[in-house]
Subunit: 331 residues, 2 copies
């Protein structure tokens, strides 16, 4: 590892940095022209459609350099975008990365950020094919565009949920929200990796897409209440969420008890878990459990789709659970 130096980036220059990054990129067979021309050229698998998404991450809005190390920041920058492609049931293929680098940022920081970004890219066979770099007079800005592909009939949208469908979620909820509360105060928690290094549920999403069981699909980035809300709005349905069925990790239960916060509130309204929320007809219940088991992903039935009469969170006795917040408004 090289020592951080604020002198290195200005000496390297914009094109030096681009070459430094390009030299590390593994180029896949379906990349015709990668980094280094006015545009990148790629070939879609015949018969597939293009699925694209973009995310911007700003320092002190989405992350803090104080608690987000560059390697994991690099991973997460790509992970949140890959998660969007997974949430369409599509196969992630190519990424574009733009970085606005604060004056004085060390080249070592950029190198370790790229380590994380390219490692996650490699894990998902995503090729970095282009981007943009410039200086920032304030904080670090990261913009990632991800492109994926899928056969038209296999893509899963937010629009297909039907009253009577089950509502499912993968993994556990609320972990990232609790971790955020801890790391923002300078603390540490075994749940930190859920916040700092989220796992996009690509294989589970693809199994689901290929099975045809999911009627609607979204990734949980704003909290299950807000994200199922997007499905409800776009499918013109409502929903009942069974609060006591929400999957909570052991660590979340333990830490929430210590902090005297209600883990179910975190599970409902806390963002950044990057799990999958989907709906499916009840006849496919067992097949869904089997399929998810095969790809090593826990899956929990957490509610039922209703006619469009709003979304309510219910306790097991049928009384309404009172939610404190629903998602996050950036403005």
């Amino acid at each position: 590892m090289t020592l951080p130096s604020s002198e290195q980036l200005p000496q390297l220059g914009e094109f030096g940095l681009i070459t430094r990054i390009a030299d590390r990129v593994a180029v896949d067979g379906n990349v015709i022209t990668g980094i280094g021309d006015d545009g990148a050229v790629t070939a879609l698998t015949p018969g597939m459609q293009l699925v694209t998404s973009t995310d911007m991450l700003l320092e002190d809005i989405h992350f803090r350099r104080m608690w987000h190390d560059p390697y994991h920041l690099g991973r997460k920058s790509l992970a949140v975008s890959i998660s969007d492609i997974a949430a369409m049931g599509a196969i992630p293929r190519w990424a574009l990365l733009s970085l606005a680098l604060p004056v004085g940022l060390s080249l070592d920081f950029v190198d370790r950020f790229m380590d994380g970004f390219l490692t996650l890219a490699g894990e998902h066979r995503v090729s970095l094919i282009g981007g943009d770099t410039c200086a920032s007079k304030s904080g670090l800005v990261i913009s990632v565009t991800i492109m994926g592909e899928q056969y038209p009939e296999t893509i899963i949208r937010r629009t297909g949920a039907v009253a009577g469908d089950d509502i499912w979620v993968t993994g556990t909820l609320g972990d990232a929200a609790l971790a955020l509360q801890v790391v923002e105060k300078g603390g540490d928690t075994p749940l930190a990796s859920r916040l700092l290094d989220p796992t996009p549920r690509v294989s589970a999403a693809l199994v689901l897409a290929e099975s045809g069981y999911a009627t609607a699909l979204i990734d949980v980035s704003d909290g299950i209440l807000a994200d199922f809300g997007h499905i409800a709005e776009q499918s013109h349905v409502g929903g009942q969420l069974f609060v006591e069925e929400l999957p909570l990790s052991g660590s979340l239960r333990t830490e929430a008890a210590i902090m005297a916060v209600n883990p179910r509130q975190l599970a409902l309204s806390g963002g950044e878990d990057y799990e999958l929320c989907f709906t499916a007809h009840r006849v496919n219940r067992e097949k869904i459990r089997e399929n998810m088991k095969k790809c090593g992903v826990e899956v929990t039935r957490i509610g039922i789709v209703t006619p469009p009469t709003g979304i309510i969170a219910l306790n097991s006795d049928g009384s309404r659970f009172s939610c404190l917040a629903a998602g996050f408004n950036h403005f």
Copy 2:
């Protein structure tokens, strides 16, 4: 026009803003799913490959709100990306737009920015299919990703220039660089539109691509010296640029004389003209002139590709022209 109000954006919220933008977007036939899902879905023309590019524009780095009105900033944000697709000889199709909005920015600013963005998009039949919005604790950040398409054999890269080829450029050079000097000092100039509202040379690029005459192509964003330099590097060639042949506008000559700057220095090293620089075999000289005339674009032969012995700028007597700067280093 509504009066600016810093209260409107927080009331509207992130999803309100997205809906407000989505409601204005004209959706094209090849957009299967536009704004509003985890990813956008589009269909490429069968047989074509995907061409992508991304640009990030930061306040006080790439533009100042003091002299860049929101409408033209919106146009330019997309124009620079469309120019990259043109520089591949590809057809621009779909765009993603991410905005980080400073606290207190008026909704009116965003509306007028979108007016400009969507007007230019309409002029080029580009569909806005997605993006991201968030708050910024410092300046406005704009990130645009553009996707285009083209048949593989029609795409033009930076790599095909051959010693003996002519070097060509469209339009005039140096205008944007002079305009930058003027507007940065708070002045006005007839050349301001070259800086604030550049015209991506899409139709000229497509005519060139379909003709098959251009051996290499790039858009002039960093100055002809730097940008031909990219062709030279990637084609493993050198070049002689005939300084007295560089196309200068009447306004540039007049204004440069008043300001006592050498317009040829601006033409060589000034960025942001977004003209096309290309190389072509000399047998195609007349056909190129005819083709460009048909699409109403001036074209000038400004040099000759040489073996890889560097790039030199020559006066008409064969003596070397001394360049003061070559392009812009962001760091």
